[in-house]
């Protein structure tokens, strides 16, 4: 028997060696699609400035961009296939940072771009020891105010207790993600300071109006009165969280000041449900996934509390837990009868990211049929250029959402960072994009920051992870930026921006004297190429870390020359 196994193994080895020599390339190494030049594509210029233009033949591909062009050395114009009022808010996102065109070409769109970024930010990457730490050093030719700490070090640790011990030990200056149980410890320690981050997210209890009795607006309103949201926030959310009065978080443009949700009134809720014939004897479900998110730190307990609250008015609720992916798919397809627990976190700080995505004409079927009056308000809001003009329409949309109750907004989940008490200017950005250049670590040269996880790569066009984007923010810059404490869109590499009347042409004027870390000067071609290599899936520099360019595809509705979906 042993001899047989031995012989079999020898035969196997020989077979494997021969097989290995002839092994085909793996599926991940499939040959790249042929690079097809889009109409109007131009190579990076050498010598006198030659404006670059990159354009789609038409808008049939379904995406937002029609063309991007360098009008002159300091002016860039984006022409869109349809209006996008949130365009400035989107281009301020760190995934759309500007690279030096020559460096982009030299790196082939990947490679060093990921581990040796060449940005315009206040810091340069000095060393990245994978698994351990990332060291940034001050960029002395930065166009703005010089960074206060000469060096910023990023470290990471998955456990909140571990991060807190590091802070208490004095080996780091700031930590992210203070554990909910540790807020009091930080607040009571005179050597530490807590920096609260208000939730730019929302947790809601969804209802689908294609299933009775949720097809009855009055019934949905009754359920809105039956949930004690304050109790949920008080018991199951960390400090910094707030009870949601509407779907929009207060920190994001589109929030309606003064609008409040239905008051908690279980007696009134029960009476309405009885009048509508729902009670007595109504049984339903709460479906959720057991996945912790900033908007829902304790999913299982919250589900049980809502179950108990509904039981108080005579509604019998069964809790159904689903696998995350299956749950999201079922919700999107409108297949969940009863209540479902879901939430949303901001991609970019604008109402369109919350309201249009969930309640616009193209929204998923998770709430059933849409509401034309909400669509109308959102459409009006999306065709006005200034915040002042837009806000009344979002107020109207928020009121209509309250009236129709497609969901019950419950909470905006907050969290916190913590710093040594002597760190001046310490803050926690609501969108997780802290600018450490603005903080003074007690006069020390180095600020050490400890976050939850290691950044994955520093070509953030091809990244989605928040820990990674925060690292990019120190090195790379976009045309516009989010103001550190308010998330308002402000100038960055572009000093001015304007749109035409129908919001389909956006023109940006670039700041003078901006240098990349390699000494190159920013010009309009850098902007065009930085966007073009993300936009066009057939561009030879459309390489990235893994070639997904998820945010570009998601926020600008797809890529040019993308492979057709199966």
């Amino acid at each position: 028997m042993r001899k047989s196994i031995f012989l079999l193994s020898v035969v196997l080895i020989l077979g494997l060696v021969i097989g290995g020599c002839a092994a085909p390339a793996g599926p991940g190494a499939a040959p790249a699609q042929p690079a097809t030049e889009a109409a109007g594509a131009a190579a990076a210029p050498a010598g006198p400035f030659e404006p670059m233009v990159y354009a789609a033949e038409n808008c049939d591909y379904g995406g937002l961009f029609k063309s991007m062009e360098a009008v002159d050395e300091k002016t860039v114009k984006f022409t869109l296939c349809y209006p996008d009022v949130a365009f400035p808010s989107k281009v301020a996102f760190s995934a759309f940072a500007i690279n030096d065109a020559d460096y982009l070409e030299a790196t082939g769109g990947g490679g060093d771009l990921i581990e040796k970024p060449n940005g315009t930010g206040p810091y340069m990457l000095a060393d990245w020891r994978r698994g351990d730490q990332m060291i940034f050093q001050r960029f002395e030719d930065y166009w703005g105010d010089k960074a206060i700490p000469a060096t910023v070090v990023f470290r990471w640790g998955a456990e909140s207790a571990q991060r807190l011990v590091e802070l208490q030990a004095g080996t780091v200056d700031g930590i992210d993600g203070v554990g909910p149980d540790d807020f009091a410890t930080v607040e009571e320690d005179p050597n530490l300071q807590l920096a609260l981050r208000s939730g730019t997210n929302v947790f809601y209890l969804g209802m689908n109006n294609k299933y009775p009795p949720f097809d009855n607006e009055r019934v949905r309103q009754a359920f809105a009165m039956a949930i004690d949201r304050q109790r949920l926030v008080d018991n199951f959310y960390p400090p910094g969280s707030s009870v949601a009065t509407q779907f929009m978080p207060p920190a994001i443009f589109g929030y309606s000041e003064g609008l409040d949700w239905y008051p908690y009134d279980p007696a009134q809720a029960k009476q309405i449900l009885e009048e509508e014939g729902v009670l007595p004897g109504f049984k339903t479900t709460i479906t959720y996934r057991d996945v912790v998110r900033g908007y829902l730190p304790n999913p299982g307990i919250v589900a049980q509390d809502i179950q108990a609250q509904l039981a108080d008015i005579g509604v019998e609720v069964e809790i159904v837990q689903m696998e995350s992916g299956a749950f999201l798919d079922a919700a999107d397809r409108g297949e969940i009868d009863g209540f479902h627990m879901l939430g949303w976190g901001a991609d970019y700080p604008d109402a369109t990211n919350f309201l249009d995505y969930h309640f616009g004409p193209g929204a998923s079927a998770q709430f059933g049929a849409g509401f034309p009056d909400i669509w109308e308000a959102l459409k009006e809001g999306s065709t006005r250029a200034t915040p002042e003009e837009r806000q009344p329409f979002y107020d109207k949309a928020n009121e209509r959402i309250k009236q129709h109750v497609p969901m019950i907004p419950v909470a905006h989940g907050g969290n916190a960072a913590a710093f040594k008490a002597d760190v001046e200017g310490a803050y926690a950005s609501d969108i997780g994009a802290e600018q450490f250049a603005l903080m003074n670590p007690g006069g020390r040269d180095t600020l050490v920051w400890m976050q939850n996880a290691e950044p994955i790569g520093l070509y953030c066009a091809d990244e989605t992870d928040g820990e990674t984007l925060r690292a990019c923010e120190q090195v790379m810059q976009s045309l516009l930026a989010y103001e550190p404490r308010t998330a308002r869109v402000v100038a960055s590499l572009a000093t001015d921006w304007a749109a035409n009347d129908d919001l389909t042409e956006w023109t940006f004027t670039l700041r003078d004297g901006v240098k990349f870390h390699n000494g190159a000067t920013l010009d309009a071609n850098d902007v065009v190429l930085s966007f073009a290599v993300q936009w066009d899936a057939a561009h030879p520099l459309h390489v990235g870390r893994d070639g997904n360019f998820t945010y570009f595809s998601s926020l600008f509705n797809g890529l040019l020359n993308a492979a057709p979906a199966e």
Partner: protein, 358 residues
Amino acid sequence: MFVYILRRVVLAIPVLIGILFLTFLLSRLIPGDPCRAVLGEKATDVVCDAFMERMGLNKPIPVQFAYYFGRVLTGDLGNSLRFGRPVTDMLMERLPVTIELALLSLLVATIVGMTLGVVAAKWQNSPIDAVTMVFANLGVSVPIFVLGLLAAYLFAVILKDTPFALPPSGRLQAGIIVKTIPEAWGMEDLGGPLRWLLDFLSQMYVINGLLTLNFKVAGDAARHLILPVIVLATVPMSIIARMTRSSLLEVMTLDYMRTARAKGLNERNVIFRHAMRNALLPVVTILGLQLGGLFSGAVLTETIFGLTGVGRTLFDAISSRDYGVIQGFTLIIAFMYVFINLLVDLSYAVLDPRIRLS
């Protein structure tokens, strides 16, 4: 001996192929969508379709396995879905971290564990025996994460600003830039297996610091290793102590021990020259198993002390459905288990000349 080793190596091949196949299959059975686990749950269907196509995950599983198997045979363990980097590169970074931690922990566990075991056996049923065994049992009973966090808090926070202060996590003080050995030796153009070896050793900072005469790095790295090594050593130390004690007690009742004493040998010689050698056989078996376990099972220690080693990486990979990392790392861990077991078997012949390997 050579034939024996060759046969063991050959017989290991089907084992490794079986592990490869099972890991491949089991990783595909983890519920959830790998695309959204990697790209985030907001990735659109179009993005996910492109991702699955590019990664070859839309092909039938047998076809995926055939491709993967062919690549493994050429030494290519594929790419990480999450990091987009070759798994071999990640192994080169993370395996040395774990090896350094595991070997040092096993060294501490062996020295302390065997000493405790001998002491307990020598003074069997005395208060010393009781105290020693209570200490050993505590090591197995206290969960690693409790012990780790308590130790970190004690040495980093409570003893802060004292000579006993130790860093709570990480591998080096923040901001220290470490050169690789080839860089420090001015051998950046070096290639081939020697370069591979030097790069591998470069990731073990204590060794790196010593070889490059950068004693600041070596000292700082050693200080950072003290707590994780002690914490990780507690469980194997307890097991080794108990095993040494029971094995030694069993051997000491045998006839040849009475003969040794009758010959007039002093007790030290009786124990260390005659008893220990035979008593070590089961201990060595345990050592081999413990070392294999340390390579793969140091997840908690690596997490608490912020060390990105094999265990932690594998744990994260399972959470994020990073098939390439799960498969590649598991294969290497399996290979190390096989290799360590071979070493253990070979050591039997050294310890007990009556054992013939054939």
